[in-house]
Symmetry: C2
């Protein structure tokens, strides 16, 4: 899954390949530990340090994005475009916001946004309905 272009700057390794693939094929913004736990079954020799090292390498090559969750595990995202996240405190699912706050800030505050980190914690629609029962 890592293409020739990327091999120019990163040598092939099976570990990185399966980690990268895992992030690419997941929709729930997994943490390093999530990835490690999920892959450990099939690759018993895999170590958590390797997962962290490869996630950092993939982020620094721009192949995936890091979502900073400062009071818990950082999560990783295949979606490269910067966007805002909603984290449900009940089910711990993380979902995406399509609205561009960056555009709003650029326009309304004459502030040239370079990067941003925006995380909303709360209760998702599904859990809210669950509570009402």
């Amino acid at each position: 899954m890592i293409t020739t272009k990327e091999r120019l700057v990163m040598r092939y390794s099976e570990q990185r390949d399966i980690i990268y693939n895992f992030v690419l094929s997941s929709y729930d913004h997994p943490s390093a530990l999530d990835i490690y736990s999920s892959l450990k079954g099939d690759y018993p020799k895999l170590s958590l340090g390797t997962v962290y090292r490869n996630l950092n390498a993939l982020v620094s090559k721009g192949l995936i994005k890091r979502i900073e969750v400062s009071d818990g595990y950082d999560r990783f995202d295949k979606t490269l475009m910067e966007h805002t996240h909603l984290l449900c405190v009940k089910c711990n699912k993380m979902s995406d916001v399509e609205l561009s706050f960056k555009d709003i800030i650029n326009k309304e505050y004459s502030f040239k946004v370079i990067s941003y980190n925006s995380l909303f914690r709360g209760i998702c629609n599904k859990c809210l309905k669950e509570e009402e029962k």
Copy 2:
């Protein structure tokens, strides 16, 4: 500085008083370590654990706010209203955003926001103009 109302739920302590005062009188979003280092001179017996414990207590009583700047240390803020920060990478000034992203998220995503953390890094209007010269 801690009023009667707050004493109902928190007993007076000199340590908490000086920590609270420090946050109230500072404009630069100090971290626990900043606060500890600044006060240690005048209160040599003060311990870092006490600073953390009191900051947490003050946050949970709603007397101050925690800002997750995700560069390591959490910061603390006397401004109670949740708001978004703009951090200029040139002049390092931090300014506030008045727009309520919380309302936008509540309305557009049926997601009940409990708290949020939103920091934009970029270049402020003033520095942008400086660059154009």
